[in-house]
């Protein structure tokens, strides 16, 4: 091989070309062959033909060559790229090591932004994006009864209006064609109390009764044993129970041989037939905030006479849509009502996917949260763009030098982007730790009424999301500075100070724009958070109708031997003993507490409007004498119950003002008779102020209080104690007092009444807390941005300030100028932000409570707060400017 002449080396001046290479190589072969043949005596033309004939299919070989060559070229290019990337990363790391302050701030800011985003994504993922933790969960459908009732009647009927009788459930199950399976569970969890004995101290159990096909319909495989059989769900069937996974682990030390053993519940042996898998927690899907230890079979024959108690869930046949099922239900339920004229109602039902039922209410809140963290991330990016730019000013010369030495603009942009990507990846790493911590914290808030809490974790999807937003953030905050810094006039940048001022000015304009947008975003966040916070305060301010402080409740058990007549004296004696304890102010018992479970019966005034369409439902509470004052409910008129209200005396009730307004408008209800509660009319003896019974936000509905001494239909018993000392300290003495009467009283704890309120507001509290934290973060970042820009411009203008001071400007004047500049930026941002907030406020209007989305007070407060923060951020550079020594500034300039 001879050395290649110089000109030949530039044959591929325009870059590698594998196809041409292949062509050249083959042409060389053919020409050499032809030469050889000519030498052997062939004529040139014939020789050429012979060479080609011998070669065979040149075209096919050429194709193979092009393919292989292309592949190699790509591989080589990729390798080069990779090597360059490595070099860029090494360069970046070295660079950042030299600027530890910048690196730390940038990574921390990114970590906060990305951490918040990943945490919210993890929550959103579980609640909105991921299907429920059941196989083919999109085919699970939730039935909500009472569709034909007007909204007001639905509210008045509470849970009773949405549930089904055993008959309605069974008839629908038998006659429908849309569903592969229909199942039910009993929603009045505490109608029967369950007590575990013979396994340590007696224990109150959280128990839910489910239909025999409950697990199979949801598609849950027991971890151990089996589900319930049909026989176990019959009246007189063998008592059976399934343990929840955590109950099995904690109470039975995960005994692998538990199946088939008997446990003592309510004094009777119950066979454990199975253990639920860890992945299925009844409460987290159907009753957030509750604790469920046991599933037991629902005996339909037992519930048949109890009215609406069953919640119904169905699994659609493959290929059937919810709309088709809805259509069938719309036709089937009225038809069934015609067949069964004795039914209370037609059970017109609204069918939704189970997921909509479980998480639908949270949809908007979560979307708002998602937007909030998105805004945070934007602010973070804007902030870092700014930081990069101010560093760019000092690196301008280095970059210009590199361009002058032959680096292309694209190459410089790539290098600068590598730098921002390295930063954002580091930030993502740290942010992931933050997200882990937040999600862990949220997942362990057992008392919060958020569904699926326990299954919240940072999973593969969250990791993917992290990577995605880290790359996006890196590109977003890197691209603008990279373009700005790599462009510009080479010569200008290379020359000295004076001329680079102009470039500095254009940078500064760009940076001001960034800061204005940052403030606008922070303003939107702040106003949104302000509105939500104000709503939250309004909710906390609501008149509950009772006094939760200094009061606590406990589940109690009494033994009246099944004789109703004996109950009154027993309850009276219990309350007498409890009230006599030191520290106890008063005590009472009710079957259900406000803001807890509820049920509804009918209440109509005797002689009142009895038209068929009117709403007659009222919430029903069975209580003892003394309960109403103990809870701090206010008796407006009449008297409280007395122990002298016995089964034999005139049956009486107390109603709330809402009931009085509905049934006896404009009249005094005390002394009037009411129908619907019992077979015979009952007498109204008192009226109390309205009590919030379902939520703090919803207005009160009609309520009826019935003495436990006159009505046997109780739904459990809860003792409420109002005390002068912290109620928790009374637990042992109260339990001791109760056990003197009933040795079987299970261990229980006092729960402050406040916890009911906390429980009721927990989703809102959780949401407001997060939004408030995020907006605080946003404002902090915006302040950092303002500080950065103003401080930088002061540094740039040191010389100018020096000149002005030498010419007689006072320090106060200089400071004012800097602050005025800050104010200008802030006001521009606030105006933009306020306009945007008006739009955003409309979107969150449905999340507000008695707060207008255009609440002027909130808007003004938040705007002032933002301006104040901005001025504080601008003050420090302003002070520095005022301290510029004219002599030093001029000499150094």
């Amino acid at each position: 091989m001879k050395p290649i002449p110089l000109w030949r080396r530039y044959a591929r001046l325009l870059g590698p070309d594998p196809a041409a290479d292949v062509k050249d190589e083959l042409r060389f072969h053919l020409e050499t062959k032809t030469d050889d043949l000519v030498r052997q005596g062939w004529r040139r033309g014939a020789a050429r033909d012979e060479a080609e004939r011998q070669f065979g299919d040149v075209y096919a070989v050429q194709k193979i060559g092009e393919n292989l060559g292309g592949k190699m070229e790509r591989r080589k290019r990729f390798k080069d790229y990779w090597i360059e990337c490595n070099r860029d990363v090494r360069y970046t790391l070295r660079n950042l090591r030299n600027n530890p302050g910048f690196a730390a701030v940038a990574i921390l800011v990114l970590a906060l932004g990305i951490g918040a985003n990943v945490a919210v994504f993890s929550v959103v993922n579980v609640l909105l994006l991921r299907p429920l933790p059941f196989p083919d969960s999109q085919r699970l459908v939730w039935f909500r009864g009472g569709k034909s009732l007007p909204a007001k009647a639905q509210a008045a009927a509470g849970l009773s209006g949405e549930t089904y009788t055993a008959d309605a459930y069974e008839e629908f199950k038998r006659n429908n064609r849309s569903f592969q399976a229909v199942t039910a569970y009993q929603t009045f969890y505490s109608s029967i109390q369950y007590k575990l004995t013979g396994n340590g101290e007696p224990r109150q159990l959280g128990v839910v009764e489910v239909a025999d096909n409950f697990l199979s319909t949801l598609g849950i495989e027991p971890a151990l044993g089996r589900g319930f059989t049909q026989e176990e769900c019959q009246k007189g069937g063998r008592p059976a129970a399934m343990l929840s996974y955590y109950f099995w682990k904690n109470q039975f030390a995960a005994d692998p041989a538990i199946v088939g053993k008997a446990v003592t519940v309510n004094g009777k042996p119950v066979t454990v037939v199975g253990v639920l898998p860890a992945s299925f927690d009844f409460a987290s899907v159907f009753a957030p905030g509750m604790k469920v230890d046991l599933l037991v079979p629902a005996v339909m024959d037992f519930w048949r006479t109890w009215g609406n108690t069953l919640a119904v869930v169905g699994r659609l046949r493959p290929g059937v849509t919810v709309a088709q099922a809805q259509d069938e239900a719309d036709r089937l339920f009225p038809h069934l009502k015609v067949v069964h004229p004795d039914w209370y109602e037609d059970y017109a039902s609204e069918l939704t996917t189970l997921r909509d039922h479980v998480t639908g209410k949270l949809h908007r809140s979560l979307v708002v949260l998602w937007f909030a963290v998105g805004a945070i991330l934007l602010i973070v990016c804007v902030n870092l763009s700014n930081l990069q730019l101010s560093r760019g000013a000092s690196r301008g010369k280095e970059l210009a030098m590199r361009r002058a030495l032959g680096a292309s603009r694209g190459r410089l942009i790539r290098q600068l982007l590598t730098e921002s990507l390295v930063l954002s990846m580091a930030g993502a790493g740290l942010g992931l730790c933050i997200a882990f911590a937040i999600v862990f914290y949220i997942g362990h808030q057992g008392s919060m009424t958020l569904p699926l809490l326990a299954s919240m974790r940072v999973d593969a999807a969250s990791l993917g999301w992290t990577l995605l937003i880290a790359v996006a953030a890196g590109v977003v905050f890197g691209v603008a500075p990279a373009l700005k810094m790599s462009g510009g006039n080479l010569q200008k940048a290379l020359k000295d100070n004076a001329s680079s001022m102009a470039a500095g000015r254009s940078h500064e304009r760009f940076r001001s724009t960034l800061v204005v947008s940052e403030i606008a975003l922070a303003c939107v966040l702040l106003v949104g958070a302000g509105l939500l916070l104000r709503s939250f305060l309004h909710v906390l301010d609501v008149d509950l109708g009772f006094q939760p402080d200094h009061a606590a409740s406990m589940q109690v058990d009494y033994d009246d031997g099944g004789k109703f007549a004996a109950r009154g004296p027993i309850l009276q004696e219990m309350l007498r003993r409890v009230s006599a304890l030191p520290g106890v102010e008063s005590a009472g018992i009710a079957d259900m507490l406000p803001l807890d479970r509820n049920r509804s019966w009918e209440l109509t005034a005797v002689g009142g409007d009895s038209s068929k369409d009117r709403i007659a439902a009222a919430f029903v509470y069975l209580v003892t004498p003394g309960y109403i004052p103990t809870l701090g409910m206010r008796l407006r008129e009449g008297r409280d119950f007395a122990w002298s209200d016995t089964p034999e005396s005139q049956h009486v009730v107390i109603i709330n003002e809402a009931a009085a307004r509905r049934e006896w408008p404009g009249q005094d209800p005390v002394g009037k008779m009411a129908n619907g509660i019992e077979k015979n009319p009952v007498r109204v003896i008192g009226v109390i102020a309205d009590v919030r019974e379902t939520s703090l936000e919803a207005a009160s509905n009609p309520e009826v209080y019935i003495p436990m001494t006159q009505n046997a239909d109780v739904e459990g018993a809860t003792l409420v104690v109002r005390a002068r000392v912290p109620p928790e300290s009374l637990t042992s003495s109260v339990l001791a007092a109760l056990r003197t009467l009933n040795p079987g009283q299970p261990a229980a704890e006092f729960k402050p009444l406040q916890s009911l309120v906390d429980h009721a507001v927990s989703p809102r509290r959780f949401f407001v807390l997060l939004v408030a934290i995020f907006s605080g973060l946003g404002v902090l970042l915006a302040a950092l941005g303002i500080y950065g820009v103003v401080s930088y411009s002061v540094t740039q203008k040191t010389q100018e300030i020096g000149v002005r001071m030498a010419l007689g400007a006072t320090t106060g004047r200089v400071m004012c100028d800097v602050l005025a500049n800050t104010l200008r930026l802030t006001l521009a941002g606030v105006v933009l932000g306020t306009v945007a907030s008006l739009g955003v406020a409309r979107l969150i209007a449905s999340l507000l409570y008695s707060t207008s989305p255009w609440d002027a007070q909130t808007f003004i407060t938040m705007m002032l707060a933002l301006v104040t923060v901005a001025l504080i951020a601008g003050y420090f550079p302003a002070r520095r400017a005022s301290r510029v020594s004219p002599m030093t500034a001029l000499r150094n300039g």
């Binding site: 030949r8 060559g65 292989l68």
Partner: protein
């Protein structure tokens, strides 16, 4: 003239190419030439198989290519062995030797039970 055309076993061509490059860089044409001459005109390498084989070796980085000028002053692509190619050649050569001895032994067998180990 009559040439005994011997079919090349799969993979054998690669070794022959590597061997032809052991004394220095060659272009495709001289590789065919080398193999033809060294095999006493017994092995005829078809161009249609040679070039793809060469390119595959190049993409496996067993040989590397460079453009240069041929004896007849034409631009030609020269191939040379890489260190990996050299190792591959050694490996394949000893494999080939062992293989041919084994095949020869079997083909030279004289009876069903007459292998040397049993004797």
């Amino acid at each position: 003239m009559d040439k005994a055309k011997l079919e090349l076993f799969r993979g054998t061509l690669d070794v022959l190419i590597l061997k032809s490059l052991i004394w220095g860089a060659l272009h495709g044409y001289s590789i065919t030439d080398f193999i033809r001459r060294q095999s006493g005109e017994a092995l005829l390498v078809e161009e249609g198989t040679l070039y793809p084989a060469l390119w595959r070796l190049e993409s496996k980085q067993l040989v590397e290519a460079e453009w240069g000028l041929s004896e007849n002053n034409r631009k030609a692509k020269f191939y040379r062995l890489t260190p990996a190619g050299r190792r591959q050649l050694q490996q394949e050569s000893s494999n080939w030797a062992a293989y041919s001895v084994a095949v020869a032994k079997v083909l030279g067998a004289t009876g069903l039970n007459s292998s040397e180990e049993q004797a």
